[in-house]
Point group: C2
Chain length 698, copies 2
Amino acid sequence: MTKILVAFTFVGAVIALVFAALTAKKVMKFSEGTEKMKKIAASIRTGANAYLKRQYTIVSIFFGCMFVILCAMAAFKLLTWFVPFAFITGGFFSGLSGFVGMTIATRANSRTANACRDGLNKGLRCAFSAGSVMGFTVVGLGLLDISVWFFLLNFVFKLPIEEVTSAMLTFSMGASSMALFARVGGGIYTKAADVGADLVGKVEAGIPEDDPRNPAVIADNVGDNVGDVAGMGADLYESYVGSVISSSALGVVAFSTVQAVDGIRAVAIPMAMAAIGIIASIIGSFLVRTSEHAEQKALLKALGRGTNFSAILIAVVTFPLVWFVLGREYIGIYFSILSGLVAGVLIGRATEYFTSDTYKPTRNLAAMSKTGSATIVIGGVGLGMLSTAIPIIVVAICIMAAYGFAGGFGDTANAPNLGLYGIAIAAVGMLSTLGITLATDAYGPVADNAGGIAQMAGLEEDVRERTDALDSLGNTTAATGKGFAIGSAALTALALIASYVKKIPDELIDIRLMNPTVLVGLFIGACLPFVFAALTMNSVGRAAQSVVVEVRRQFKEIKGIMAGTTDPDYAKCVGLCTKASLKEMVMPTLIAIATPIVVGLVLGCNGVIGMLAGSTATGFLLAIFMSNSGGAWDNAKKYIENGNFGGKGSEAHKAAVVGDTVGDPFKDTSGPSINILIKLLSVVSIVFAGLIIKFHIF
Amino acid sequence: MTKILVAFTFVGAVIALVFAALTAKKVMKFSEGTEKMKKIAASIRTGANAYLKRQYTIVSIFFGCMFVILCAMAAFKLLTWFVPFAFITGGFFSGLSGFVGMTIATRANSRTANACRDGLNKGLRCAFSAGSVMGFTVVGLGLLDISVWFFLLNFVFKLPIEEVTSAMLTFSMGASSMALFARVGGGIYTKAADVGADLVGKVEAGIPEDDPRNPAVIADNVGDNVGDVAGMGADLYESYVGSVISSSALGVVAFSTVQAVDGIRAVAIPMAMAAIGIIASIIGSFLVRTSEHAEQKALLKALGRGTNFSAILIAVVTFPLVWFVLGREYIGIYFSILSGLVAGVLIGRATEYFTSDTYKPTRNLAAMSKTGSATIVIGGVGLGMLSTAIPIIVVAICIMAAYGFAGGFGDTANAPNLGLYGIAIAAVGMLSTLGITLATDAYGPVADNAGGIAQMAGLEEDVRERTDALDSLGNTTAATGKGFAIGSAALTALALIASYVKKIPDELIDIRLMNPTVLVGLFIGACLPFVFAALTMNSVGRAAQSVVVEVRRQFKEIKGIMAGTTDPDYAKCVGLCTKASLKEMVMPTLIAIATPIVVGLVLGCNGVIGMLAGSTATGFLLAIFMSNSGGAWDNAKKYIENGNFGGKGSEAHKAAVVGDTVGDPFKDTSGPSINILIKLLSVVSIVFAGLIIKFHIF
């Protein structure tokens, strides 16, 4: 049975990749448009590729060093020899996911702009197909990596199942490290370029967004691709793989004492579920199409139809899976999965409520712009902080439900392990629709870029209107996607913490809250997301200021930019952003990797567990706060631009632009990086557990 | 011996109150100045008194209801009958502290302004004396309440010592409830008036701060008194009393199994220390004086001299106290106290570094105003978040040291209790200099008000310069004071959590982090400070907007305001702020009280403990983040006003004003309320523990 499930998983992965390839072919068939559009798209592509190349160079130095360290640890028998290699493949595939996504996105942008000349529906199809390529590449590569490693370790090397899942956790560490580099680097790039371009172009020179006279305009569009596409691809690859592997690892523990069920089946369940999710997502993606003259609501409905159908299909098919694989006695685990699926939908809804301008919070926020930028900033911070309440309650109920359904409150000694497995597999449930949700998410930056190209190439007004409709919708789907990413990150992090606890010998464990090492760990852990957010925001600030200086210089020194007779030096700004963001990317990531080791060496395992719990809790909160504040500011600005409170150019609009600019690093740099951070802290702790068990002060 | 110590404590309390009364007499001897100054001061006083009267009316309804509830619980034997009465006295004295402080502050403001006409030193003496009245009233009343209750319960009713400390914890709940009302209500008042006055006066009408033509100017000055004085007095009363009582309670537990030391001695130590602190503070306060023509550094030095001397004196005298009372074997506890004292100083220093414009962070922040309000807002948020790192590390080391020195890592079964006692008493060490630190802190709003009166009464330019020098210094001491309040709050909250754990029967306790109720409690607890901060910020926003509307109306409808020929209707704004802030004050406080009960009923005791740990960790972080961001924005603005980056009226200055306005509710409403919140959650949990033990779902 297990062999069948593993084979099914492998087949699912292949199907996803084939579907991605076919969709890519479909995208490439769209016409690229006019010569000017081709030229602009080519510069964006060149800039994006140049960035990724340099990013991968730096990252590979890091991976090389880590490889050596892990090999050294293996030599001292603190790890198995599979670990360094698993680490490398995780990083490689995570990077590859981002690269493939970006490659297609930088080819689909001009095609989407051109398709919008024919109509909205065609534009949506092109952009959504590009998003699908990315979505299915991520899940396909993720599942391929998992199934191949599992096959090798279990069937070829015939390792005990505990060691299999243990080694697989390390490739999660590789994926997380790569994802953090990609998210932080890309996030700094995109926001430095965006903020820099806006501050000088919009505010000082008074030219519209995406105006070809702005020297930072190409950098801004490159940023969308390296940040929102490549960064997000690597990020969600990590989430996906992390959730499957962490629940596999806990499955082994949970069923190790259950006679009736082979532990390997508990490992196979999340893998098979992921494969089911892929097939359901493919079917769902065929449902995404809209009529011409569709309003934003109809567009949202088109995307929602696809996602909802996939979710229901998964809910239906998973039931027999659990029934036949684990048996009737453990059918409660199905309801754990369902809890995760439902919680994901609810968090998405809550995010939509707080960030979409069809609801009260964002509209009230927009109204605050009437009394100036200070009040809209205060209001946005308040909105973001308040918006943490619903997701926290949803996750709280989801945790209790997933734990309880899986049998966690039972009276056997094994019950808590089953409960923790329930929490872990709820995360897989939440992420099972990733193929399609990521497609709806990744299409946003493609539409954004298409709008930029339409503006720069001087296409007709109605083309720009269509791309704007697509883009505005992208803001909401992006916020929903972030809700998913954060919600699943919290559950996955808890599962990883549980895996960590299982790795530590019982006699070293005292994780009662009144143990001072746990408390101190908790405080330090709680602080980490704050420090991390601060570092990344300050990086954006510094990088943006260097862009501002350069753009001002070009306006001053290069004659004829404003008249449109001379092209500005786009490449200079692209190079500047690349250099600045890569420089700024290193420190936050190194801190994320070093802290659990340092805390472990000083406070021991219990301190580490406290730290992980603390960082998961505040990380979750801070990520939601920052994403939702940012999203609401962005949409409040758009709401004003649609003619409310005086519309474009009014005092209210100026105040709203300040809010939006503050929100940029909130929602696109710091917020989304935090959910990678909390998982990276956990996996680093797991990988270095052997070291910490041997050496620690307290 | 214990009797002597209790008597000594009582005497210390009386000395503090006598010293406060004498100092008040000294303040009253200063001249009130011109008729115009008298008139202005009278309106401020009237407004402040009217506010307090209405606040106390509302609060007494709440106290009445709680009294009935507590009596009902006592009738069902869930509590002893002393509890309802202890609750009332705690609230009463907390309120009284605020009232006395405000009474003297509203009399010292015009006197300080007038004294500044003669010279800076005289002005400092007057303002500092007023601060001292408040400081010594707070510690005097706190210690009086503690020593009288202790005397009654222990010597008159002869209750077992466990029940004595248990009943005393409830008056901490009374004090915390009152403090939260006062801080939240006063904080909303002061910032609604401030923001409202600035937005219309400074930004729209272009008149300077404290201009008599601004209809909200009296409300703004009333706000300083009801928020920064009355609110802070109630707040620090609560901190002071809370730290002494929580360490007493843990002292009983720690020494209950120690044959050689009577438990009552462990209770007497923190009380006696507090009395020593009073005497040391009085001596220290005589050292605060400065030469004429002193610069800000010299002023800061004058205040620092007093505080440092007091701290050293306490450190010296406490050694023999611990040695003789607890014996040589437990001298480690002295070093726990010392850890707290040192940690307090370090947190204060760190706060100073991040918020004073003599250091790099605030100067860099000021520089960010050159690229507009968005960058200075982003920079300030980053600065505040980053500034959490040092205090967290200091508190972490302090916890480990205090726990370790007290013997927590020993190998007896009792060792952890000793360790927790060490943490609790470290908080007492940190707050032992409260008499003088509060004096340096409370003098700020007096100076601020003096400046307002000088401006409104049209005094000479150099008087305003002197009050500005005093005020600017007040910003830094206020930030330092907040650092102390937050640091001690974290330690006290931990001590209260430990007390809570001791109240729960062992068989119900499972506070391992992997227990899902603990985890879920942790998540919910971590969320509370975010929600609380959001609610209070939104309240400020709403109240400020109503002020804006009213001020605009007056400018429009009352002819001759701008020409200075007609007085605006000050009372209308005062009344508006009073009404709005009292209305907004209720909900956040009720949530703070209801949440631990609801969480307890659903998740049980372990969930409550998780919740308390979570709220303490994020509350500490959020309070520091918000206070420091706010302080840095304020001082960055002042730095620009001193002539940097273009000075007053420049674009950079306008951007800095936006930052400052955003920071207002951060640093004066939400931030400082959070440290009361985390303790109130703990004491409410303790008081309702009996209920939760009987009724809970999980």
